[in-house]
């Protein structure tokens, strides 16, 4: 009896304690799960931080270019005036100079009078050096944002940093890809949502899924070994180069087609049945219902699909790296080789890239531009969906 009383007491004591307790285990788990979610934020922060940091380094680096102007006399560490030869590119006030590529010291030209150049020695805390005559002077090119965005020649090792040839090639392959993907993708979407029987859908959808699942490197191989020969046999080998933006763009269009069609189809299927029934009731044909009622109603979703398609095409890498050509070229001819932004990044980083070299930093500058382009396109597409969506019921 005693025993059962104590048991009962114990039980009542235990059950009486209904205060809220902190469950440490639950707290720790919740904390861990939050960290998992926050890693995505860290990824974004990491992308933005690293791209900006190295891009800043890119815009702050000095590229040394040989002026071919030799020293005419030996220079002592305390000389304020250099005597230079007449050969080479003339120096200008404000130029930053170095004695050859071995020289550590950086000098600034204060005044040029004939062959005598008055300089400020030992800039940036470098020690003035003694130099022998005959050493050629190098002058510094600094990469400016303006030159980067507007220059039409990309050759980082000889001081040309115009990113336009790369951007131009990217836009060309994207435009060609969208010329294929937009009409075809929209047609497929309209067909699937308005015309196709259940069986036709069952046959076509897997094909599209397979097309979307083929790795891009395989598409690159396809572009180079199939599409290019086909183009060459149609237009002539003299006109179509082995590497060209047209074949890369066409194949990229096939890659993007499933994306555009599936997003557009989702938008079309979201249009309520009552709208179609109303159109049919007024005597519209199937085609009229599709183009005059359903497509306009789903326009925001279709537009978003197009924009996402463009963004995907801009960021697409392997097809252009394999088939579009290796070497920046500023051309509007789709049958000529031209390197895109992504293709350039792949080619440059293919070897053992040494850190803090011009190439290393330029990857980040191009990457930042690429990121900004695709990111803003993605934001615009989200805006479009939110702003212009027709809400039914």
């Amino acid at each position: 009896m005693d025993l059962s009383v104590t048991q009962a007491e114990e039980f009542s004591h235990r059950s009486a304690d209904l205060r809220r307790r902190t469950r440490w285990r639950e707290q720790v788990i919740q904390g861990f799960l939050f960290v998992c979610g926050a890693i995505s934020i860290l990824t974004t922060v990491g992308i933005v931080y690293e791209l900006s940091r190295e891009s800043l380094a890119f815009f702050a680096t000095r590229q040394w270019e040989n002026t071919n102007k030799p020293l005419a006399q030996d220079v002592a560490p305390d000389d304020g005036v250099l005597v230079v030869g007449t050969a080479g590119r003339p120096l200008e006030q404000g130029d930053l100079l170095r004695f050859g590529l071995q020289g550590q010291e950086i000098l600034r030209v204060l005044e040029v009078s004939g062959t005598a150049v008055r300089v400020e020695r030992g800039l940036d805390g470098n020690q003035p050096e003694a130099m022998r005559q005959g050493i050629q002077l190098y002058s510094a090119n600094e990469v400016t944002l303006l030159a980067f965005l507007t220059g039409t020649r990309w050759a980082p090792h000889s001081g040309s940093f115009g990113v336009l040839p790369l951007v131009n090639a990217t836009l060309m392959t994207t435009a060609i890809a969208m010329l294929v993907a937009l009409p075809l993708g929209l047609s497929v979407a309209i067909f699937l949502s308005e015309y196709a029987t259940r069986r036709a859908r069952g046959a076509i959808k897997p094909v599209l899924e397979v097309l979307a699942g083929v790795p891009t490197v395989v598409y690159g191989y396809f572009a180079l070994t199939y599409m290019t020969p086909v183009l060459r046999s149609i237009f002539g080998e003299g006109i179509v180069q082995i590497y060209n933006t047209a074949s890369a763009g066409l194949v990229m269009g096939i890659l993007i087609l499933p994306l555009v069609s599936s997003m557009s189809e989702d938008a079309l299927s979201a249009v309520p049945r009552s709208l179609r029934d109303a159109a049919y009731g007024l005597g519209a044909t199937r085609w009229e219902t599709a183009t005059k009622v359903v497509v306009p109603a789903a326009l925001s979703g279709i537009t978003a699909a197009f924009i996402i398609g463009i963004s995907r095409a801009i960021g697409e890498t392997m097809i252009v790296a394999i088939a579009a050509g290796a070497g920046p070229a500023f051309t509007f001819n789709p049958f000529e080789a031209a390197e895109t932004m992504t293709g350039h990044i792949v080619r440059i980083s293919g070897g053992d890239l040494s850190y803090d070299s011009v190439d290393y930093n330029s990857i980040f500058a191009i990457g930042l531009l690429l990121f900004l382009m695709t990111f803003s396109l993605n934001l615009i597409s989200q805006r479009v969906v939110r702003r212009f969506r027709e809400v039914y019921e």
Binding site: R23, E26, I29, Q30, C36, G37, I39, S40, I41, T43, G46, I47, E50, L51, E54, L184, S187, V188, I190, F191, Y195, I204, V207, L208, L211, G213, V214, P215, T216, V217, V218, G220, Y221, F222, T225, Y226, I254, L257, T285, W287, I308, S311, G315, E316, T317, M318, I322, T342, I345, V346, S349, Y355, I363, F364, L370, F371, T374, F375, N378, L379
Partner: protein
Amino acid sequence: MSRRPAGPTHVEAQELADILTWRHRWSRIWRVVLPASTIVGILALTALLYNVSNQSFGYIAVENEVDPQSLAIAGVPLGELPKSRLVAILQDNISEGLYRRLEHDQPFDQRSREDVLDLVHERVVNPEVVASWTLHESLLARDRIEADMARQFPAAHLEFRSWVDLDFLRSQQSPNPQITGVRPAILGSLWTILITIAFAFPIGVGAAIYLEEYADDNRLNRLIQTNINNLAGVPSIIYGILGLAVFVRALEPITSGTAFGLADPTTANGRTILSAGMTLALLILPLIIINAQEAIRAVPGSLRQASYGLGGTKWQTIWSHVLPNALPGILTGTILAVSRAIGETAPLVVVGASTFIAIDPSSPFSKFTTLPIQIFQWTARPQNVFRNTAAAAIIVLLVLLLTLNASAILLRNRFSSRSN
């Protein structure tokens, strides 16, 4: 006053009928045009598969440096000679330095007869592919191929070659397309994917649980959700650049293994399997999270209520009710994300895949190459023969992906039949 006619006049009715015919015809035209555009997609897929298999099989012209029949001794063909004779042939035909090096790698006493026979084939007979033809040509234009060969390579013999075979799967990389293989690439792909899954799966599912079960509707959590959707749209090469800056460079002591004293002597820098796997993990994380969220959202709320009603804590409810029910969906999504990672090339090139690997990867700190990287490198070679090996590697990759996707579909079907 004349009364207005109740219906259209005869002329108007005729016009209407004309327009109606025209409208119906127009609709019928599009009825044909629209499916035609889907056929373009099917044609493209067919052309792609045709192209790959066309390049993977076909006749090749092989020129031997030394005719194997001239190596036969007293009527015994090369393939049946005893080991001692083979070693003698080897000694006679290769330079002394090379012989000593082979002896140094592994003494001939300890090598098997097959091994020595392989060496004789590789070093003495030294077959070289001088020309290759596509499957299409091989099947339909055998006469022309033979004529071409007689004219251009009289010393060569013709053989039918399937570029993808067991030896191709088992062999190491080699500059000689005849004997090269994808063994290090397959192993590299598997290692990389293991690391990717090890990081991406727990973190991805954890984030999905947080967002679906714990997160209140506040600014921070909305930011996380938007951010995940945006990350899914970032080009893969950007992840490669991030991996290069963070994993390869900043975390070099960890990713190269020096921090643990495990550095692989062949690398000793951050361009390792670990860096590659973590980069791919970041890449597929948004996909895993979004898919897992959908799976968790599909678990009916009544299950949660039942668990709470029995006094289960939040985590007990999630662990024993929500997760088991969402698991098939989560796994399907993960498999799809992983098959995307297996096919990725661009980020791994940027992270620093090796161009040539002589030994198998043995740890997360080894140098790496993967199947897509191997395909890319062979495709980028100027020699046409490597197009054939690239096509063979593509077949291996596609079979691998098909297997994965088929298992995802099976999983999905089992899941949907069980819930019905």
